[in-house]
Symmetry: C6
Subunit: 85 residues, 6 copies
Amino acid sequence: MTQVPSTPLVPDNTLITATPEDGRALAITLARHSVHAMQHELEVLTNGRAQYSHDPFGLIAASHVIAVEFATIAAANGYWRGATV
Amino acid sequence: MTQVPSTPLVPDNTLITATPEDGRALAITLARHSVHAMQHELEVLTNGRAQYSHDPFGLIAASHVIAVEFATIAAANGYWRGATV
Amino acid sequence: MTQVPSTPLVPDNTLITATPEDGRALAITLARHSVHAMQHELEVLTNGRAQYSHDPFGLIAASHVIAVEFATIAAANGYWRGATV
Amino acid sequence: MTQVPSTPLVPDNTLITATPEDGRALAITLARHSVHAMQHELEVLTNGRAQYSHDPFGLIAASHVIAVEFATIAAANGYWRGATV
Amino acid sequence: MTQVPSTPLVPDNTLITATPEDGRALAITLARHSVHAMQHELEVLTNGRAQYSHDPFGLIAASHVIAVEFATIAAANGYWRGATV
Amino acid sequence: MTQVPSTPLVPDNTLITATPEDGRALAITLARHSVHAMQHELEVLTNGRAQYSHDPFGLIAASHVIAVEFATIAAANGYWRGATV
């Protein structure tokens, strides 16, 4: 079995990002790294991904987690209110 | 298979919108783009959409995600308290 | 098929309401309009409603969405702390 | 069929309560009134209650909704920090 | 059938605790008392507990409720930032 | 049966951590300790872990709980905004 590293849980060890787009990408990453911390085997992850990504209920459940992670990241960044787009 | 672009995750790279209506539309868009980031194939997305949109539990689950995204967007916009409707 | 209008998502384009009761009604409306944005056909909506409203798990799931929407609306209104009942 | 009144959604039209205990009771009431707004028929509600209250997953799902409602009520009341117990 | 008391919902009628550990214990208690408010019969509760506590999905669902309750309690206590451990 | 200790619920009795990475690890720990508080038997936990960690829906549900716990911990730490990485 191929092992997926279980750390870091938070890449670059910060919640601060330059833009909302980067914050959104971080939300996805945090959610994925949580999963990796619970399941290290690449083959199991690959199979699981094939399963949930073809099931609309799996995609909705995963997008729910991303939304919760993003809420935290957005608050951490003051919602990027002062950012120049 | 037709590929759906996986970015941007946040259109216009901002959470700030002029009105609650626009913020609500953004919430729906963020949720959809999360799904696109996990599943790029248009045919799979189209089939999945046909499935969950005809299932009341799918619609409730999806509306839950929209509610969570909207909470973040509403906070980012100070709840549009000063907006003139 | 009869088409349900998909907009507005936010009636009157504001989260501000006079009272908690009105805020609660708005929470229900926001949740319903999310569903309408995903499913426009009245017959599908009517059938789905008959299904989930007779299933305690459907009612609990829907009430969960209302609770999340209401949290946002209540925050937007400063919890109506200064309101005279 | 016996009809359950669908309003008020918020008894006494306020989120302010004297104590956490009262706030918790209000959380339960808000969740129940959401359900009543979606299902008016007493017999359906009574049957549904018998079903979910004997299913641990139903009880957990319902308690989740209460927790979300309570979060809003507790914030509205400043967590009753100044209350004398 | 043995009856479980349905009150108090909030032991000692306060969300304030001395430490995070106590706050966490209160979160578990609040969740349990919610369940008791919906199901008074000890035998049903005991059977339900045996069921969900042997089902990983039941344990995950229950731990989700504890997390939501704890968020409220932690906010009420200012996250115990000034506490001496 | 081997018994898993049910306390502490919060290791070191604090939500304050030096870095986001540590906060994320604490979120996972809090979620796990919730489960231990409900199920003390190591064999049941081990079996349950094997089950949910091979089921993408189990992994998504568990990562959702981690996200909720992390939101609380991140708020407690002021999102580590002043931290030097």
